[in-house]
């Protein structure tokens, strides 16, 4: 290394970065430091991973259950979806959505609003933004609701163990989650205005929306591809989990007089979850790591901003690549520690 004239050190992180990033969750421009650029990339990676995980879980669970349906058409449709999306490389899917599907969207000036307020255009998805007044009180009320739900659950579990009675936890939770925030509107003085995106003419032939929240097409394509791809694997995990619960369990539960809903809730799901959780964790980890493919379509994630632009500018390959790898390593380890904790919590407690 020495004879190549390369110096080693992390001092460059505080230097001015002097490059711009098109999409960022925190305030950032060229005058900020490289460390700030790193944070921008990291937050964008986390954003797309979280969106992807949520959608992949929803689609995956629905498709997984659909694959178990006794309706032939539904089962086949789900199977075709799984086989098709699972066997095509993720990168190809990202390219397809970004370069082929989203490019067919209308220009901003021709876009038809969906439900009057959403605008899906070639420049991205524009949704109304909420402009909050006294946001903190609203957030506190939600936190209070969550804490009280935890207490209710704890109490309900104790009651069931002692007296064998079931409490409608779900109803109470939904009630708490709506009533407490509502109180914050009525008495806490928090309110919001909805800002609907408005079409603006920038120049002769160039239009764009201002106001509201704009999601860039890169983010949409990436989130779409990631969730559709990962959902196939989650669907298979769900299917394997539910099939893994013995038929006898279901029959035994029915024979002691539980209703079908109770059978699902109290007998099947707790056992199926035990099989489903570990492989699903792996899929979440894969999704997080796969989000680095963002670099291919110029979504400013960690790899593109830091291991791409910042590396080209500073030439500090060793430091930057090692920081990037360590970041992903710690993200993976964090998720896997959390999921291991959850897995341990729901595992069979053998006496």
């Amino acid at each position: 290394m020495d004879n190549r004239g390369i110096t080693f050190g992390y001092g460059f992180l505080s230097q001015e970065s002097s490059f711009d990033v098109q999409f960022s969750l925190i305030e950032y421009d060229g005058s900020h430091s490289y460390f700030r650029a790193y944070l921008v990339g990291l937050l964008n990676t986390i954003l797309v991973s979280v969106i992807g995980i949520i959608f992949a879980t929803v689609i995956g669970v629905v498709v997984g259950i659909a694959r178990l349906s006794n309706n032939y058409l539904i089962e086949r449709t789900a199977a075709v979806y799984v086989e098709f999306f699972r066997n095509i490389p993720l990168l190809l899917q990202i390219f397809f959505w970004y370069f082929a599907a989203l490019r067919a969207l209308p220009l901003p000036q021709d876009a038809d609003p969906m439900f009057g307020v959403f605008f899906l255009t070639i420049k991205g998805l524009f949704v109304p933004a909420f402009i909050w007044n006294n946001l903190d009180i609203f957030v506190y009320s939600i936190i209070a609701a969550i804490i009280s739900i935890i207490f209710v659950r704890y109490y309900a579990k104790k009651k069931q163990e002692n007296e064998g009675k079931q409490t409608p936890v779900l109803l109470i939770s939904v009630g708490l989650l709506t009533i407490l925030p509502l109180l914050s509107f009525l008495f806490g003085g928090s309110s919001f205005i909805v800002e609907i995106p408005v079409l603006n003419q920038l120049s002769q032939n160039s239009y764009n929306y201002t106001g509201g929240l704009g999601l860039p097409p890169e983010l949409i394509a990436l989130a779409l591809a990631l969730s559709l791809y990962t959902a196939t694997f989650i669907a298979e995990c769900v299917r394997a989990g539910v099939q893994g619960v013995g038929k006898g369990q279901k029959e035994a539960a029915a024979s002691i007089g539980l209703t079908p809903n109770q059978v699902l809730k109290l007998v099947i799901m707790p056992q199926a979850l035990r099989i489903i959780i570990p492989p699903t964790t792996n899929q979440y980890l894969n999704l997080t790591k796969n989000s680095s493919l963002a670099a291919a379509i110029a979504y400013p994630d960690l790899v593109l901003v830091f291991a791409g632009t910042a590396l080209m500018q500073t030439g500090r390959a060793i430091e930057i690549v090692s920081i990037t790898m360590l970041t992903y390593l710690s993200l993976s380890i964090t998720i896997s520690i959390f999921m291991n904790w959850y897995n341990k919590k729901i595992a069979i407690k053998e006496k």
Partner: protein
């Protein structure tokens, strides 16, 4: 005649329900088909929302009427059991049927009816459908990358001969079956490497390769006539002597100086690409990652603490980082640690990087199989006096590997699907070539066709692999 209650169809008036139900169902399907294929809306006199939802309602009533349990008609029972068990299922079935009918015409017209394949320039693509001309013109590039057109027969020949050599296993008789593992694990990869390195890469070095082949073939043919007593000595001495003779005495000077036989043109790895590069990368990564993963998994279960923790660290590191950063590392960071005058080819670096990356995954899969074996297997093998290696090779691994065939197949599938990522180091396999072709000024605007084509190619490859692994699993399945 009993009173007919349309709310709860029963067996008594079976045919009344059946005919009304089927009629209503067919009417709804007919309406949707007319709308979708001929764009005629029968119910256009109604308000738009009602006209849209009407076939759904009619079809739903129809399916409700034919939902009769134990009707005694076999096909009706089959239909009810499969798509019409209750109202919710009937509703979903109807929606799926209508969506299929609705989406058939646009898909058909895009793929076939309005598509163009004739001609050889962009101008023929005037229809609203796909422009398969684009794929036709660029086909060679998608398959071979920037490999010179005149030399592409070398890739074809190599792949065909490798496929032929690979299928030897199917034709082997019982007598030779025991050598097959050795053949596939050691000899076949070496042959494949020779083909890729000398034949596809080419260059003057090709002569060495061809002399080697001539020497080997000739000496094997003569070898059949040598008494078995001397065979070993013969095969140690003769091929090499023959090779040296060929190279330095008989041909060397003459061929080069007279130019009778021109050497194969050297094609640098940067020009390789397309689907053939996908195959080359996947093939070598597959071959390398398996043994590395096997040793890592054994290392992770080793009694020696140092080996154990090194293996754990190695596996967890590779599993924790995305492949794209590994490739970044191999392309920008790795060369800095090499001595100044040393250069390792880009393709080789990529293959090493992907192999190590996938090896970590293979290791975890194999560890699962090792853990699933009951302790008794180890104890029994040890009590027979087997050492560590003997125990693993003859008792543990055959059983463990059999258990994890699906897992290994999944890892290999992931490997094949990861190969497009090599674009980060500038190697363009099929997806990379598509992106290049897409930006060609003469062929702008055909991204969709390209991606659909590549999707179909990858789907065929991956689907075939997964079906093959399923067959393999069934074949080696033993009841335990």
């Amino acid at each position: 005649m009993q009173k007919i209650n349309f709310l709860s169809p029963d067996k008594n008036n079976l045919y009344a329900y059946l005919y009304t139900g089927i009629f209503l169902f067919l009417v709804s399907v007919f309406d949707v088909s007319l709308n979708s294929f001929l764009s005629i809306n029968l119910t256009s006199f109604l308000p738009e929302s009602i006209s849209f939802i009407l076939p759904l309602i009619i079809g739903f009533i129809g399916l409700h009427l034919i939902r009769i349990e134990y009707s005694g008609i076999k096909s009706l029972d089959l239909l009810n059991k499969n798509i019409n068990t209750n109202s919710f299922n009937a509703f979903l079935s109807l929606i799926i049927i209508f969506v299929i009918i609705k989406s058939l015409p646009p898909i058909l017209s895009w793929f076939i009816l309005d598509a163009n394949i004739a001609g050889d320039s962009k101008d023929v693509c005037t229809g609203t459908g796909a422009c398969w001309t684009y794929i036709k013109i660029w086909f060679n590039r998608f398959m071979y990358g920037m490999y010179p057109n005149a030399e592409q027969w070398r890739i074809n020949l190599s792949f065909i001969s490798l496929a032929f050599l690979g299928s030897v296993g199917y034709f082997a008789t019982e007598k030779y079956k025991k050598y097959l593992t050795l053949y596939y694990v050691v000899i076949y990869p070496i042959i494949a490497f020779l083909f890729i390195f000398f034949f596809i890469s080419g260059g003057p070095i090709f002569f060495d390769f061809s002399y080697g082949i001539i020497a080997a073939v000739v000496s094997i043919i003569i070898g059949f006539f040598i008494p078995s007593k001397y065979k070993m000595y013969y095969f140690i001495i003769v091929p090499f002597t023959f090779y040296i003779l060929l190279k330095y005495v008989i041909f060397y000077e003459e061929l080069f100086e007279l130019g009778k036989l021109e050497a194969l043109v050297w094609v640098e790895t940067g020009a390789w690409g397309g689907l053939s590069l996908t195959f080359i990368v996947s093939f070598f990564c597959l071959i390398f990652c398996f043994p590395v993963g096997l040793f890592l998994s054994l290392g992770r279960r080793s009694d020696l603490q140092i080996i154990k923790y090194i293996s754990i660290g190695f596996i967890e590191f590779w599993r924790g980082v995305p492949l794209i950063t590994v490739l970044f590392m191999s392309s920008v960071m790795f060369p800095m640690f090499l001595p100044e005058d040393m250069f390792i080819d880009k393709l080789v670096r990529v293959i090493i990087a992907i192999s190590l990356f996938e090896a970590a995954y293979v290791a975890e899969v194999i560890r699962g199989g090792l853990q699933a074996l009951p302790r008794g297997q180890y104890d029994a093998a040890k009590s027979l006096g087997m050492g560590y290696w003997k125990m693993h090779i003859f008792v543990i691994l055959p059983q463990a590997l059999k258990l994890v065939i699906p897992g290994i197949a999944n890892t290999f599938l992931a490997l094949v699907k990861d190969t497009p990522l090599i674009f980060v180091v500038g190697l363009l396999e099929i997806v990379g070539m598509l992106n290049l072709a897409k930006t060609n000024p003469d062929w702008l605007g055909f991204a969709m066709e390209g991606y659909v084509f590549a999707s179909i190619v990858f789907f065929i490859i991956c689907y075939a692999m997964s079906k093959y692994s399923y067959n393999l699993e069934q074949k080696y399945k033993t009841d335990r």
